[in-house]
């Protein structure tokens, strides 16, 4: 039996660029107004399609950075050196331009406060984007629901090459400072500022063991970033005794897409 079930199509929409916000030297956040946006869950992504005057098209996927609580959609884009789409989005796009996108897409790599238990987020580079959507959602939703935050503590382990390249650096510090149930730990793998006392190496099993709750606490884990990082982290977590069913991964290739 193969059931052929028609599902509502995710159609292309014309979003308006409200603002292009620099985050780090290589990343920008696009703040968009999307007509009749159906809402989304933290962790989902959109497909963006660019069309040149001669009809040539290029399509890429970008994780949604904004939480569902925000009326405007934000995408954070890392400009890839040989990229075809990301340099256009970072450098060319400006306020008032239209951008064609479709979504939200993805039912697997998603989190919301209805999912109980400790939350462990592990990210590398631009892999932070969907994780940031989750943290922003957690912050907004817990406040609105007046829920006890300590019932779902969260920890983020975030790997970047250097302090200048940490996306959302200041916002993460503010979130952690104002919320005792959120812990943010960075590892800087290439350059560290003077006086840096944090991690200064690639994420490895020992680091994960130090950061994470023990497997008996059954944290939900979301890992996002370049494929080698994601594979290594997932493998280490399983070796540490975490159940594979509680570890969700999203790998970014050099295209910045989610597959």
């Amino acid at each position: 039996m193969s059931l052929n079930v028609a599902a509502p199509r995710i159609s292309w929409r014309h979003a308006t660029v409200i603002e292009v916000v620099p985050e780090t030297p290589r990343t920008r956040t696009l703040v968009l107004d999307v007509p009749e946006w159906p809402g989304h869950r933290a962790g989902q992504h959109v497909d963006v399609r660019l069309t040149a005057e001669d009809g040539y098209q290029a399509e890429r996927s970008y994780s949604i950075a904004s939480p569902p609580e925000e009326p405007r959609l934000s995408l954070t884009v890392e400009r890839l050196k040989d990229g075809e789409v990301s340099p256009y989005l970072s450098d060319e796009l400006r306020s008032g331009d239209k951008l064609e996108l479709r979504g939200p897409i993805g039912g697997y790599f998603v989190w919301d406060i209805s999912l109980s238990g400790p939350l462990l987020l592990v990210g590398g580079g631009s892999g932070i984007v969907p994780l940031m959507a989750m943290l922003r959602h957690r912050n907004a939703a817990l406040a609105a629901a007046n829920m006890e935050r300590h019932l779902m503590p969260a920890r983020l382990l975030y790997s970047s090459r250097g302090w200048d390249e940490v996306i959302y650096r200041d916002e993460l510090a503010r979130l952690a400072d104002s919320d005792r149930t959120l812990e943010v730990r960075h590892t800087l793998t290439r350059d560290q500022p003077a006086g840096w006392t944090g991690f200064r190496r690639r994420i490895d099993r020992a680091m994960l063991e130090e950061i994470s709750w023990p497997p008996s606490e059954q944290p939900r884990v979301f890992v996002c970033g370049p494929t080698p990082l994601v594979e290594a982290v997932a493998q280490s977590l399983v070796e540490l005794g975490h159940q594979p069913a509680l570890i969700k991964t999203e790998r970014f290739g050099p295209t910045g897409g989610s597959v």
Partner: protein
């Protein structure tokens, strides 16, 4: 069990009328089918056709990528559900589940 064929025309005619009363087209199932496809099936429970163990779908192992989603039994690894999405349709193969049970409260 093979039923003995009857050569009686009267018995045959009665049998056909009875069968026609039962046979309706798929639209009649629409109502009950709409109860199946609730917004979140992950709370439903599925019995694995491989090992016979029933688990909440959310507890099954999901392998998702750009081609589709494969949901496997954590006990015996057999595929319980297969889902793919084309530009125009969603495909669901549930032959790996002997049965799926959805709480009516979920609606």
């Amino acid at each position: 069990m093979k039923r003995a064929s009857s050569t009686s025309a009267e018995a045959g005619a009665t049998g056909e009328r009875f069968a026609d009363a039962l046979r309706v087209d798929g639209n009649a199932a629409a109502g009950i089918l709409s109860e199946l496809f609730v917004s979140d099936l992950t709370a439903a429970r599925a019995k694995c056709a491989g090992c016979g163990v029933t688990r909440t779908i959310g507890a099954l192992m999901v392998y998702a990528h750009g081609m589709g989603t494969v949901v496997r039994c954590p006990g015996c690894d057999r595929v319980v559900l297969r889902i793919s999405r084309t530009p125009t349709h969603v495909w669901l193969d549930a032959t790996g589940a002997t049965s799926i049970v959805i709480s009516r409260d979920a609606n």
